[in-house]
Symmetry: C2
Subunit: 336 residues, 2 copies
DNA sequence: CTGTTAGCGCCTTCAA
DNA sequence: TTGAAGGCGCTAACAG
């Protein structure tokens, strides 16, 4: 690979001159610039990005850390992140946190290969997050709540969302409502569950532990837990799946058992992923402002990079999306 | 930020010693190593990735270049890429080519920030691709065909896929078959169209230019072109959308006009994206071996990096997936 | 406008 | 086992 040295030599100028010329500085004459450019072209010279980043101690890129690049992550969120990042002339790279401490994500977080990062990856530990955040390296987390001088939190109002979902079910006459949870360590899940509890409570319905089923936020998990529910003697009036993926898995399990949604049972999800609208029946769910969350996250980073002071915590609101998986419950005929 | 110098100073050793200790070399005593590690920890030292990459002139990361990070890209493909990459202990980063020549993708391609790259982004020009590829920097393209010493091609058999789709329609009694194309400059599209033509030809059906509609591979494009088709006087027996996204957009247009699929018209897509199975009716389509394409791509890169010689061209086969959007055409009652 | 020079932070011979 | 020193490729004073 040709270096700037080779270019300078070929063009017959000093290295610095070549550098200036290549960076479009106005310190060199048009003639030299052309000479240098010609030399660069003929050598197929490409600058070494590291060397220049090293020198300037700044990369102009921010990282988006996802738990799995191929996962059903939120394309709107990425869109938001992407839009704001490119609008600011920064580069955006996405990397996965598969592999935990040895993952690419951890590497990027720790080795200052980027100027800032957004984390949406439950498999990055709080510990890694906390010890990576430092002055001059803003970190925004979208999936947890962390108190640190250098970590900024953006959350959607999961509690309220959980409340909304549960209340919608209650208002449709359902009282025996199962909650299919996400993993135990999921902050989001815990808040959604809190909302579920609150709604039950506000409507004078006693919480029954038997209706809390532990899932894992995956489609298979939803399928499995639903099968389990079906295998049990008692069946709820409705199921609140703590995310859409699980609800879709559940839908499949229900269909296989000829249990009709929403005639026999009502179900509701959380997230409003793209698929939700296409499954049959279309899934009622809780919509999160994903685009906003993504763009806000980057926005915070840029403010921080510019040395401004910003809040450490933001909460975005959620919204009920009524589709066709929830229906008014037919009460058993009163005996006359 | 603490540098290795600070660590060395605090630990009371030379810089090189600190470096050895931190890199687990066996050239330092256990005692020194511990001393250095303690110092590093207390300073919250993190090595600067650039500096070390610069020194070793190798990054251990490969880039996956997508036209849009938030786009409906192929999660299975990414899965394949990801699996093989991490299995080889390399890092994977995804970046977008939005912005063309000024995009992050172009930057990564040109500034040797990665050891190899996989391109699946029609908005990266052949020119950029060609001039980025160089010895020691293997490039695999998944969406075009390029002849260069340093570019490797992996294609799915689009022509055969197009043939399969069209033939399936023909075998169901359809003869007036519209083709909704992708963008003009899409290599994939051209091959699919070729397959369409071949099938028509093999079955003695004359190609009619009026049945070729120019789309753009987006859902909106499919919607728009279908509306157009509907607005015209003549309507085809069936439509072959050159990708699923467009077919889904088309489905919507058809539904809005109370044209039933597959009763009034049969349609087929291409790609077998996740949604295809969930739309109503479930979309018949052509499935591509996406996971294989992704894993093969990285595999090729690693072979190249290891100095092995590999073929410049691979073709993976496609397969017809029958679902419910294609139906045998009722012939008009013969007059008796 | 151009050239000289001193590092950015790290790794790695080489000599002690 | 440890330390001194050179340099990866580039940028940015500074001096001419």
């Amino acid at each position: 690979m040709a270096t700037i040295k080779d270019v300078a030599k070929l063009a017959g100028v000093a290295i610095s001159t070549a550098s200036y010329a290549l960076n479009n500085s106005n310190k060199v004459s048009q003639a030299t610039k052309e000479k240098v450019e010609a030399a660069a072209k003929s050598l197929n010279y490409k600058k070494n990005g590291f060397a220049s980043d090293l020198k300037r101690t700044k990369t102009n890129t921010i990282a988006l850390i996802l738990s799995d690049l191929s996962g059903p992550f939120y394309s709107e969120l990425i869109q938001g992140v992407q839009d704001v990042t490119t609008a600011n002339g920064f580069d955006l790279i996405a990397c996965s946190s598969i592999g935990g401490a040895n993952s690419t994500a951890t590497k990027f977080l720790q080795e200052k290969r980027v100027d800032g990062a957004i984390i949406l990856a439950h498999n990055i530990s709080d510990e890694v997050t906390l010890q990576s955040a430092r002055k001059g390296f803003p970190l925004v987390v979208l999936d947890r709540k962390l108190d640190s001088d250098f970590v900024y939190n953006i959350e959607v109002d999961n509690t309220h969302g959980g409340y909304l979902a549960t209340e919608h079910l209650i208002q449709n006459g359902h009282r025996e409502i199962a909650y299919v949870s996400g993993p135990y360590n999921s902050h989001d899940n815990n808040l959604r569950f809190q909302g579920y509890m609150n709604a039950l409570n506000d409507h004078g319905i006693a919480y029954q532990p038997k209706w809390k089923i532990i899932g894992d936020f995956t489609r298979e998990g939803g399928y499995r837990t639903t099968k389990m529910l079906i295998a049990q003697r008692k069946f709820p009036h409705a199921i609140f799946y703590s995310n859409d993926e699980m609800a879709i898995g559940g839908l499949e399990a229900l269909r296989e058992n000829n249990i009709s949604v929403p005639d026999d049972i009502s179900i509701i999800g959380f997230d409003d992923i793209q698929l939700a609208e296409y499954v049959s029946p279309p899934l009622s769910t809780i919509k999160q402002p994903k685009y906003e969350a993504g763009s806000l996250a980057v926005h915070v980073i840029f403010q921080l990079l510019a040395g401004e002071k910003v809040d450490h915590h933001y909460t975005l609101s959620t919204e009920l999306v009524k589709r066709q998986s929830v229906k008014q419950r037919k009460l058993p005929e009163p005996i006359t």
